[in-house]
Amino acid sequence: MSVIAPKFRLGYFLKGIFDNAFWILTIVTLAGIPLIQIVLFYMDLPVIDGELLTAFLAFTWLFNPTMQVPLIKSLLYSDLFRIAAFPGFGFAALIAAGTIFVERKMLAKLQLRVGPFYCGKIEGLLQLAGDGLKLISKEIIIPAKADKPLFWAAPVLFVGTAAAFVALIPVAPGGWVVADLDVGLLAVFAVIGFFPIITILSAWSANSKFPFIGGIRALHQMVSFEIPLILSLLSVVILTGTLNLSEIVESQSNFPWIIFLPISAIVFFTAMLAELERIPFDLPEAESEIVAGWLTEFSGMMYGLVQLGSYLKLYAFAALFVIIFLGGWTGPMFWPPLETELITTGTPIPNFKGDPVLTVFAPGLPLFDKDPNEWVLQEQGELQYTSGQLLINGVIWFVLKTVAVIFFILLPRGVFPRIRIDMLLHIGWYKLIGLAFVNIFIALGLVYAGVLGPGGIM
């Protein structure tokens, strides 16, 4: 394989850079500043030191070193940040983008080819961005006989539902979750139950044969695998006695549930693959049978939105598996606890004579502590850590476990062919539901024997 690269010319290179800079400046000025103003207008502004934080004050404080930390902290603890950035959409979208990259490269290695290579210079890192730009710039074609409002609404609803699913996932200790519900698991089931409705709506509204068959298949698949999905999680609820996802994670601080409920984990993982429409259960999008299934008539960014939604859904399901079976963010600490003096007064570093000449501060970590004035120490075993340390450690463990689960979700794509619809329904209704019931009786046995559960060694 050879690519004829254009000859490097400094003039063209400089011209390209200046062109890009010009257009970026123009777009930022014309679109960015009004957007920032709109956001600032609607944002709930905090009161810091008795003063309402206005946009003017914010810009003034941004360059005042003593005010930077509370300012950024107030942003970190705002609802907007949670929804848009860290435990919510932005974090999930980042992992979804990583998932697509890993999927492409891993599959390529498995199949003895290179995968995306040129876009982004290093191993095709920017291929996804290129694909996104292409999808945005393409024309959106809608079938003439389609039910237009529903057809337009379907991709947006799909992404919205996936984002709602992501919002229920706790990521780190200390309530780092968009919606911390006491009925978190029930809310998850409710959101999962909404996906087949969107699928069949979009498939039906396209008024075309292949999407319709794909939509019916998706409906069959999702509805019949929801039952083993819910039943397999029921055993964990029996053992923990709570539906709150954060509390389910905290109940696994000593051992993850996968040790006691392996059948449940297997059933959940299989049902998860089917819910995600991934190979070997990708019947609703089976290419050689029904073109692209219920995605056939989507074009341009509508298709892009559906893909974004499906990868967000993938992340959310993998995270749910981690939370319920692998202990979420629990895990050994990566570093020793910080000394309080290092943060508050700084640590003096002596020279060779023993005279302190240099004082080192570490003000970065307390940024994530909840209380703006005190360094909250939290117990983790016998040692005490700042909550910022716990947050970072929790996020690292959570991401590591989630990525591992995602890897095992991606792997069957290179190994298995697609199964048939009747085999799929047979697996769902006969095998998985039976296994899930067996598993519930195991959980009940553990509870009544007093080994585990609300009254056991927990």
Partner: protein, 382 residues
């Protein structure tokens, strides 16, 4: 005024018919990812196929008519066009027929070179077919691996003939040019590596439990039906009929080589997809034997007259191609061009079995059954 009802016989798929609410008509192809250059008009009731009507002819090129206005040598490059991936085998019966007509002897070394080239081409074709079978079943690794391993033999054929796919290597009287100097060593090394690679396909594809569950007992073609419908090649052998032209009517030097026929009894899609894979392993054996027995030097071509003419004669020769028996019938009337040339190819014979196999199957089984017939749309249309 009464409504005008068309009385003319309409092409398939366009007939005025009673609309049944339960029956849905699907046009699978020719732009469908699961069809190839053809259309299958499928009528489905729920997920079950009640009627299937294959509609080939989208890539008809009139090869047989073209052959009537060209002389015996200039016919060579365009007669291999129906299956460019199996170009040596599809040209083989024509070359054998012309040799019979003109009455020339082929040197011993040329016969061995022909056999080696034909077996290499068979592997190239089956790899391509297997890649598409993999992607039809949603197995993307099985698409990439054969498509990549094909390159080994394509490179080898490029060394021999100078072209990657359309070789035009066989000519009446031998082969076009001699093999390169170190060909035996390179070929043996490639074949050994290739054999190791295709044995790995068994682990990931043929022993895969999901593949077995999907393709076993689907589209079963019994031994009697396989003979009655006139199927050939791997389809016939998968139904338990021990028939291979290389063994039954050996041509060139196949009678001096030990050719083993792979026969499976099941007659389902799995057996039909497994026979070509076993054929590839057998091809590797044949190539090794031929390399051993091939004379190390000698003529590779008996020169023909500049514009050879056949007598007042007709001839029918056939060979085993990648898709079954491929025959060529030439009528000669003392002209430099054939009076009539007819290609009889395995693809079209196997396609006849498709409606019988699809009836009553699930729509999800259609790609598995359809492509297991070892069918090449372009060859069927000719």
């Amino acid at each position: 005024m009464a409504e005008v009802i068309p009385t003319k016989e309409m092409p398939p798929g366009l007939q005025v018919e009673n609309v049944d609410d339960r029956i849905m008509t699907l046009n699978v192809g020719p732009q469908h990812p699961g069809s190839g250059h053809m259309r299958i008009i499928v009528k489905i009731d729920g997920d079950y196929i009640v009627d299937a009507d294959p509609d080939p002819g989208y890539v008809h090129r009139g090869e047989e008519k073209m052959a009537e206005s060209r002389n015996y040598i200039t016919n060579i490059p365009h007669l291999e066009r129906p299956v460019i991936h199996d170009s040596c085998n599809i040209l083989y019966p024509y070359v054998l027929g012309v040799e019979d007509l003109v009455g020339i002897e082929v040197p011993e070394r040329a016969k061995y070179v022909r056999v080696i080239a034909a077996e290499l081409n068979r592997c190239i074709y089956i790899q391509y077919w297997l890649a598409i079978y993999g992607i039809f079943l949603g197995h993307s690794t099985m698409f990439m691996w054969p498509a990549g391993d094909r390159e080994l033999f394509i490179d080898l054929m490029e060394k021999i003939s100078g072209a990657r796919v359309t070789h035009a290597y066989f000519v009446p009287g031998g082969v076009r040019n001699d093999v390169p100097a170190n060909f035996e060593d390179v070929c043996l090394r490639q074949v050994n590596y290739f054999e190791k690679r295709i044995k790995e396909y068994g682990d990931i594809f043929y022993d895969n439990p999901i593949l077995k569950a999907r393709t076993e007992d689907t589209g079963v073609l019994s031994r009697e039906d396989a003979i009655r419908l006139g199927t050939t090649g791997s389809v016939l052998r998968a139904s338990g009929v021990d028939y291979d032209v290389r063994v039954k009517e050996p041509y060139d030097v196949y009678d001096e080589l030990d050719v083993h026929t792979n026969v499976l009894k099941a007659g389902d899609s799995y057996a039909r997809s497994k026979v070509p894979w076993l054929d590839m392993l057998e091809s590797c054996n044949i190539i090794r034997q031929a390399l051993e027995k091939m004379p190390k030097s000698g003529s590779i071509r008996t020169k023909l007259k500049p514009n050879p003419k056949g007598g007042l004669d007709e001839v029918y020769r056939r060979v085993e191609s990648g898709r079954g028996a491929a025959g060529c019938y030439i009528v000669s009337k003392e002209k430099p061009e054939p009076y009539r040339l007819k290609l009889s190819v395995g693809s079209f014979r196997n396609l006849i079995a498709l409606p019988y196999l699809l009836k009553g199957e699930k729509l999800g089984n259609m790609p598995a059954v359809y492509w297991s017939l070892n069918y090449w749309p372009v060859e069927a249309d000719r």
